[in-house]
Amino acid sequence: MTATAPSDPLAWTYAPAPEKVDPGIRERYDLFIGGRFARPSEGLYRKLVNPSTATILCEVAEAGVADVDHAVKAARRAYVKIWSKMPPRERGKYLFRIARLFQERAREMAVAESINGGKPIRESRDIDIPLSVAHFFYYAGWADKLDYAFPGARARALGVCGQIIPWNFPLLMAAWKIAPALATGNTVVLKPAETTPVTVLKLAEIIRDADLPPGVVNIVPGGRPTGQRLVEHPGVDKIAFTGSTAAGKWIMKTLAGTGKKYTLELGGKAANIIFEDAAIDQAVEGIINAIFFNQGHVCCAGSRLLVQEGIAETVIDKLKKRIETLILGDPLDKNTDIGAINSAEQLDKIKKYIQVGGEEGAEMWQPDCPVPEKGYWCRPTLFTNVSQSHRIAQEEIFGPVLTIQTFRTPEEAIDKANNTPYGLSGGVWTDKGAKIFKVTRQMRAGVIWANTFNKFDPSSPFGGYKESGMGREGGWHGLLPYVELETL
């Protein structure tokens, strides 16, 4: 008798199913200014890392002071000479053309997005790319209908818009920013996040192929200094920013008194409230989608679970079982549910919070799933025994970490949900329609989902209360921050 572990005859694990489409990632990317790719003035290139392997992916130009200045000037020239004079219908045609070209290259873009950012191909293929394309189509339709969006007023473009986007949804955020700006007649200088500029630069290729007049869209990759120069540049009329609350506060201070308009979409710590009368199995699925979508790198993630006391044990038990079926690994595998953490820096931050949670006395749970040896990975993590005053329940972790608290009455749930400096999103799960209306009316968040979570559509506005930001993106509401209204 040897003590070898018998292989489990019942276990069924899925063979690797990698997506094989060539993402067409170049070895080196330049700046995109005035309709063509240009070398950076300071000659600096940043090496990008594939987060699922921790190996070098490619290198990307770093925009310096002079480059940001060139880009803003190119955008100004394009605005004055071409874009502001073009009939709105023609602007719409360009946007439709970009949308179609983008759609044609959807699979390639999805693969590139997963390689650069670490997100599962299932998400980039089924969510990021289709939604990004949909945003272009949606705002293309608005271009020649602005008179109907603002009856009784004339909507005038602002001029040159400086746009800074985060690393969690590179293409989607680029679409959210570029499409409404162009539809309303503005020109754009956009800075992608320092870790994830690849797909935005691929989008620049599409924009070039669509024959968009040179300078209407300019892309200046770089780190924080590049973003700061863009914000401070006197030639910029408006700043649209998505990112951390700390950076948002700096932008507000910097722009105070300059006359520049701005919209900020910042952090979140959303409460996901599960009532006893909810459809429990579907709510469990909703909890999974709320916090583990994109490894929890989602500003509107449902990172605080508030579950009614009577079903807490059942829900936590089911949640753990469900988490054990999540497949963590290669982002390009079609069966992967949880991909790589975007960067080493972000992984350190998440790990720090997991440690803090333990030190604060919360109880941590992780499944026993295998984790690849190379790259940046974090198992889906639950914390029970969490107090409202714990840092893990107050601060945005931006990773696959869920805190679980219980409540007895709807009032208690609402109090706990609102007791945060953030107010971006929230979720309510109940089978009673009246309860949905009663509870959601008292929650202070810009987006609230009922019996679902993390659903997006170009036609619905998105944005937050309190430290989660100001202004709305998406929908006809998303046109407003890009126009000045004149009464005739």
Partner: protein, 318 residues
């Protein structure tokens, strides 16, 4: 006789009342949109190579090969039995199907043909497929099928009673059938989900059937459209999971009708694997009721072995 059945019924109900408090668990509500989203996500699983072969063989071993036509004859059943035992002799290492499912009058024929093969004989009963008959007649039919040699009984519930809210009637009916089966014969309870009208009712009927003693819950007779669907199956699997959490008992699941392709069968197995887990990946706890599925699975298995698809002409129909 009636007295005996009455006593049996009490004995069946007795174990349920073992707890100090009866433990009344109303069925939780079901959100249809949520169920459909979950199913559509699970259907995207990409099952390749070795894991596909494993799944296809598993599906074969879970098959309840079925013929339930008014025109069924002993000859047809004998042919089906032979097919069940020799699925495709060109492929070695194939499992045998789980059972052959026939009408009560053909049980004896099947029994004789399948002797020693390990393949079970399942018989539909209780005025299949409509269930429109008296309680007495239905129980007599179960007894008849058992006498003829059935290992498993596939009964239908009285949908009329269930839909008019008389859950007690349906409960008693199943409990009585269970007592007739007397632990010797496995009882599968067909809910005929296509006639129940909502996922909430399907959940309620599943819970009711399990508490009443079902060894398996089964979606459909195959005579009503829609028959088995993935959303319905997911809801029933979730009910089975909750029943197991509460009682420690494992109830089986049998989607039946409408599963015609190997791809669909694999999707059902994914649903099972990720809802109830590995413990249910066995013919003891999962069956697929189908009449034409086997050859499509065999065709896929041949393709995985040789790399090319053969036409259906190379696979015997019965």
């Amino acid at each position: 006789m009636h007295l005996l059945i009455g006593i049996c019924t009490i004995f069946v109900i007795m174990p349920i009342a073992q707890q100090s408090y009866p433990g009344w668990h109303p069925s939780p509500p079901v959100d249809q949109i949520g169920v459909e989203e979950r199913v559509s996500r699970l259907s995207q699983r990409s099952i390749k190579k070795g894991s596909k072969v494993h799944a296809l063989k598993l599906a074969l071993s879970m098959l309840d090969l079925t013929t339930l036509e008014g025109s069924d004859s002993p000859g047809k059943v004998r042919q089906l039995c032979y097919k069940a035992m020799h699925l495709h002799d060109a492929l070695p290492d194939l499992p045998h199907v789980a059972a052959l499912c026939v009408y009560p009058t053909l049980v004896r024929v099947a029994r004789r043909e399948l002797e020693g093969s390990g393949i079970k004989v399942a018989s539909v009963a209780t005025a299949f497929p409509s269930g429109q008959s008296s309680r007495e007649t239905k129980m007599d039919e179960i007894r008849y099928a058992m006498q003829e040699g059935a290992d498993e009984i596939d009964m239908v519930i009285s949908r009329g009673a269930f839909l008019r809210g008389d859950h007690t009637y349906v409960y008693d009916e199943i409990a009585e059938a269970k007592s007739v089966c007397a632990g010797r014969t496995r009882l599968k309870v067909i809910l005929e989900t296509g006639e129940l009208g909502s996922l909430d009712r399907i959940r309620q009927a599943s819970d009711l059937a399990m508490v009443a003693g079902a060894d398996f819950i089964k979606t459909s007779t195959g005579k009503v459209q829609p028959a088995a669907t993935m959303p319905v199956t997911l809801v029933m699997l979730e009910a089975i999971g909750d029943f197991h959490r509460r009682t420690g008992q494992r109830c089986g699941m049998k989607p039946a009708g409408g599963i015609r392709t190997a791809k669909t069968a694999v999707q059902y197995l994914v649903l099972l694997n990720e809802t109830l887990g590995r413990d249910w990946l066995t013919p003891d706890l999962f069956r697929i009721g189908a009449s034409t599925l086997a050859n499509d699975i065999l065709m896929q298995l041949v393709k995985e072995t040789t790399g090319v698809y053969q036409s259906l002409d190379y696979f015997s129909q019965a």
